[in-house]
């Protein structure tokens, strides 16, 4: 059995999640924001797998499978949106996209 407990994985997952959140808040490039979201999803997946092993149930891994599927769909749609926005405005700086600001 794996000698490493669940806690180091959870801490690592937390660090990666916060780095991803930092990326979302700090970067202005829409593609980089997207990549940071992917980093956050991966961190959550890591925590799910760690907890799945803690409980000896495969359900956590199944959830990770679902998260990956949804992430794939999200990336496809999101990147298509980014391409369209870039076509129209010649920029993917999210500070330039203010037309929906209330």
């Amino acid at each position: 059995m794996n000698p490493i407990g669940t806690e180091p994985y959870v801490i690592l997952s937390m660090v990666l999640f916060l780095l991803g959140a930092l990326g979302v808040l700090m970067r202005r490039n829409a593609i980089l924001v997207f990549m940071s979201v992917e980093l956050m999803l991966n961190a959550a997946n890591l925590a799910l797998v760690a907890f799945a092993r803690e409980w000896g149930q495969v359900d956590g891994q199944v959830f990770v499978f679902f998260v990956m599927t949804v992430a794939a769909a999200e990336v496809a749609v999101g990147l298509a949106l980014i391409v369209n926005i870039f076509r129209e405005r010649r920029s993917i700086n999210i500070d330039d996209l203010q037309q929906m600001r209330g």
Binding site: P3, L18, L25, F65
Partner: protein, 462 residues
């Protein structure tokens, strides 16, 4: 193992930081790929090989290739973050993130440093009872001895009780694993909580086991499986053996065959013969000078013991033989199915005294639990318990696919613009005609005097 985890996690965090700080988006994407690879490695360390594979193929393969493709398509490699506004947001975000990390990680870290970690409470172990006593009967337990059938008094059954040793489990005394099958048949495992027990086998008398014939400590580790096998000793008494079973998945393409010997006076061997000529003997000729060519799979198994072998998938002519090369039981065209775990118990049939003893090799199947995290186990949970979510995710992917196709049409923007213009025209034309109709004049003409309905025409000239 610890140093491996430390190195991999350090690389993962380093790659994430590098991803965040690179100005070139392509470099960021490449560092993110490194990060995903590290996470896949951690999945491997967490007993999730299937997810590690999916992570590499889906994330680092498909998704990141899509990212790189879009970055290079848009030429957005060096879109800088120099908008100037909201520079304070980064510092604030960093401060909040570090505060969150401290708040969340501190309890975990302090718990990590503490040594008294309780064991997972839901760990289960398995136990089963196999009766290999000749003529064993659940209700009226009889022992065949020298041709006389000696029924024990009353309606008694052989009972295997578990006495929990741990103080925390004292309220979980399990004494319900009662043998009730009249004949050795397929019998599944009973699930018990992992822990230490005392296994008692004896004749059941009311609520307790009186004068147990067998007592042994059992340390039931999580996910372990044990068998209590009851058999007849040479003196005609009941003996019991506590065996540890291997119910993990056999190697790929193989089956696992366990043999338990309940025949008292013989050492049993399991041999594979090419072709039977005589189901009673392995001898080639009547003088028994030469044995049939055979391959020994299990050699000289004493009574009360169990041995496991793994067989390749296929069909075998097996025979259980004793030391005199007498076939006790033939298993012609034995079909070895991949992935199964089977226990064969060789026991003597309660025969008529004076006749040749006959033997049976009863089958006890144990469905092999697929290895934790293997594609098989994930697939079983996915397609048995989570069928509906799988369908919904499939629909979601389909919708996303259609959405991307709609979004990515080359003339999508131009069409939208044309539609907007058309709408304006369509609105304009009727408006003009409506005004013209109501005012009764040619709106688009040169000399146009508005005639408001209900108004006084002459009043305006004053």
């Amino acid at each position: 193992m610890e140093w491996l985890f430390l190195i991999v996690s350090f690389v993962a965090v380093l790659a994430a930081v590098m991803m965040l700080t690179r100005q070139n988006a392509v470099h960021s994407a490449l560092f993110l790929i490194v990060n995903f690879g590290c996470v896949a490695f951690l999945y491997l360390m967490l007993d999730a090989p299937f997810l590690a594979m999916v992570q590499v193929t889906v994330y680092t393969g498909a998704i990141m290739v899509l990212f790189l493709f879009v970055i290079m398509l848009l030429g957005a490699e060096t879109t800088t973050d120099t908008s100037g506004r909201m520079r304070w947001l980064g510092l604030a975000a960093a401060a909040v993130a570090i505060a969150l990390l401290v708040i969340f990680a501190f309890p975990i870290a302090s718990d990590l440093l503490a040594d008294d970690k309780p064991a997972p409470v839901d760990a289960r172990a398995r136990l089963r009872v196999i009766n290999a006593v000749p003529g064993g009967d659940g209700e009226t337990f009889t022992m065949v001895e020298m041709g006389r059938s000696v029924p024990l008094e009353g309606a008694v059954a052989l009972n295997v009780a578990l006495d929990a040793l741990d103080e925390g489990q004292s309220d979980r005394r399990v004494d319900g694993v009662v043998y009730n099958d009249p004949r050795p048949t397929i019998r599944g495992y009973s699930e018990i909580a992992a822990g230490s027990y005392t296994v008692l086998a004896g004749v059941r008398a009311g609520e307790y086991v009186s004068a147990p014939i067998f007592t042994q400590e059992l340390a039931a580790a999580p996910d372990s499986a044990h068998t209590v096998a009851l058999y007849e000793s040479a003196a005609g008494m009941i003996e019991a053996a506590l065996l540890e079973d291997d119910i993990s998945a056999p190697a790929v393409g193989k089956m696992r065959l366990s043999l338990f010997n309940a025949v008292t006076d013989r050492l049993v061997s399991l041999v594979e013969v090419g072709q039977y000529r005589d189901l009673r003997s392995l001898c080639d000729d009547s003088a028994c000078n030469a044995l049939l060519p055979h391959r020994v799979l299990i050699e000289r198994l004493p009574v009360g013991e169990q041995v496991s072998i793994e067989l390749e998938e296929g069909s075998y002519n097996l025979a259980l033989v004793d030391d005199e090369a007498t076939v006790l039981r033939a298993l012609p065209e034995y079909a070895a199915e991949r992935g199964t775990v089977e226990t064969r118990v060789l026991a003597r049939e309660p025969g008529i005294p004076g006749s040749l003893p006959s033997y049976r090799a009863s089958v006890f199947n144990a469905i092999a639990a697929p290895a934790y995290g293997s594609p098989e186990s994930v697939g079983q949970v996915l397609f048995i318990e989570y069928v509906l979510p799988v369908m919904l995710v499939g629909v979601l992917l389909l919708v996303a696919l259609i959405g991307v196709i709609v979004l990515a049409r080359p003339d999508a923007l131009a069409q939208a613009e044309r539609r907007r213009v058309n709408r304006r025209r369509r609105v304009n034309r009727p408006l003009i005609s409506v005004i013209a109709q109501q005012t009764g004049g040619d709106v688009l003409g040169g000399e146009y005097v508005a005639k408001l309905p209900g108004g006084d025409d002459e009043g305006g000239s004053d």
